[in-house]
């Protein structure tokens, strides 16, 4: 049996319903909530501030430091033990790389910008939701950036290429599945995060890149709206 219809009835290129809000954590220098379907990410920015331990300081540019973490109750099934595991550390690292190129870190020598990405509710695509939230939060913190970054997981379920997989699709068992998290910069339209596991050939991969760019442009509109909603002067 082949995969003909998505479990939640979406078209193959459709994203799940999105919602974004800037400034949700008042004690932070910048913050955001990004929700896509049942996946929710909070991003909290603290800094630029003095970097400890001191030997990590870079006199030429500031450091972006991401702490990604899933909350213990965020998944279906077993409790997730809090604290950084290998998966969380790797996701934190790729998130750093996906965002640092758009940021003007040279303006903050010797400092650190800490971003805490916390996932209260997960239904696949958490690292992508985290990146989308972090970009809003960094802009909300007033940190100079060349452009925004949006991210989405595209992929393959059986013989179909799909956008924004949910958990039911990731777990599809009657055929090959590929999960491809991709981050796209908003203006230069380049790919700053690319990971994949599953099975695709190169042509499908290139097709997925195109789909991700279109989807990220839609996410970008939601990000911009969140920022405008907070900062635009009410007339």
């Amino acid at each position: 049996m082949s995969f003909k219809k998505r479990p939640d009835g979406r078209d193959f290129d459709d994203l799940r319903p999105m919602e974004a809000k800037a400034g949700v954590i008042k004690s932070a220098d910048g913050s955001a909530m990004f929700k896509i379907g049942k996946t929710v990410a909070f991003a909290t920015v603290r800094g630029p501030r003095e970097l400890f331990p001191r030997f990590l300081k870079n006199p030429k540019k500031g450091i972006l430091r991401i702490y990604y973490q899933m909350m213990p109750f965020s998944g279906v099934g077993d409790r997730i033990r809090p604290g950084p595991n290998r998966r969380a550390k790797e996701i934190s690292m790729v998130t750093e790389k996906s965002l640092s190129e758009v940021m003007l870190l040279e303006e903050f020598p010797n400092s650190v910008i800490d971003v805490f990405i916390d996932i209260p509710q997960a239904d696949a695509g958490t690292r992508c939701a985290g990146i989308s939230a972090a970009a809003i939060a960094l802009a909300d913190a007033g940190i100079p950036m060349k452009e925004l970054v949006a991210a989405v997981a595209v992929g393959r379920v059986d013989d179909k290429l799909v956008v924004d997989l949910d958990y039911a699709e990731e777990a599809y068992e009657d055929g090959p599945v590929a999960d491809v998290p991709i981050a796209v910069t908003s203006r230069s339209n380049k790919i700053s995060l690319l990971q994949m596991d599953g099975e695709v050939d190169k042509d499908q991969m290139m097709e997925l890149l195109k789909k991700a760019k279109i989807a990220c442009a839609k996410i970008n509109e939601v990000q911009k709206k969140a920022l405008k909603d907070k900062y635009e002067v009410q007339k």
Binding site: D78, R86, R87, K97, K190, L194, M196, E199, K202
Partner: protein, 259 residues
């Protein structure tokens, strides 16, 4: 050793003129060697050398209770140790993010390709299954640990023989059977690097430290890609990704012949 900006610029300028410091072309690997059964007490092992880079991989098998969410499957675990012996950059202590990334990329290549038929590792559903632990140990970092580690892990799996199971269900590690692991696919990883505007494979340490972006692709013999990982801070265009994947797939087919 941290490269200074001048050295990095020199590497970029040289690459533009088509010159790599060791005289290779951009799509040349250094000499690749694979030796099997280098650690006979392990159930499987291999040593891979790529130029000066040396990596050991060992497989240990054990009998364990399957994970509750996959009661009818065996377990797979990949760990990587960046040993202080291998590079002045590596320190003892908790695993560095680089070693975690390497372990996870090797793990994904093997796991997501379905290289091992984990269902065949199950002895009694929910009760007993084989666990496959792959440890990748760096002996010397001469650049390109990622590809060397993935190749060593696969080679060690190929060389693995099950130990004998005694009548009481415990394992007699001293005696090996002739049975190999249910290895149904063989993923080969190749990392393509972008330095300046040049794309190359199998970087030296200096080239690796000058790298702007990299993509590791694990591929099967039919050119199916089964894992990808982008690294480095530079964002990539579609054309760059296309070129990097094309090069990785081509070199993976060549590397496959070394096994």
């Amino acid at each position: 050793m941290i490269l200074n900006q001048e050295m990095k610029q020199h590497i970029i300028d040289s690459l533009k003129k088509g010159v790599r410091f060791d005289g290779r072309k951009n799509d040349d690997f250094r000499e690749v060697n694979v030796e099997y059964d280098v650690a006979p007490s392990a159930e499987g092992s291999a040593r891979v050398t790529i130029g000066d880079t040396i990596v050991l991989a060992g497989v240990k098998l054990g009998l364990e209770k399957p994970y509750p969410d996959t009661p009818d499957s065996g377990m797979l675990m990949v760990n990587a140790e960046f040993m202080p012996m291998a590079s002045p950059e590596f320190e003892s202590g908790p695993p560095s993010i680089a070693s975690i990334e390497l372990a996870r990329v090797v793990d994904r290549g093997i796991r997501e390709s379905g290289a091992i038929d984990v269902k065949k590792l199950c002895i009694e559903a929910g009760e007993k299954a084989w666990s496959v632990g792959i440890d990748v140990i760096t002996i010397n970092d001469g650049g390109n640990l990622m590809d060397a580690a993935a190749l060593a892990a696969l080679a060690a799996l190929k060389a693995t023989k099950f130990p004998k199971v005694k009548k009481d269900g415990s394992i007699d590690y001293k005696e090996k059977t002739k049975d190999s692991l249910p290895l149904v696919k063989e993923p080969i990883s190749v990392t393509a690097h972008l330095i300046g505007d040049q794309i190359l494979v199998d970087p030296s340490v200096e080239e690796e430290q000058s790298s702007d972006a990299r993509i590791t692709a694990a591929a099967l013999d039919d050119k199916t890609i089964c894992a990808l990982q982008k690294g480095g801070e530079r964002a990539l265009s579609e054309e760059e990704i296309d070129q990097m994947l094309t090069l990785s797939l081509k070199k993976a087919a060549e590397l496959r012949k070394r096994l």
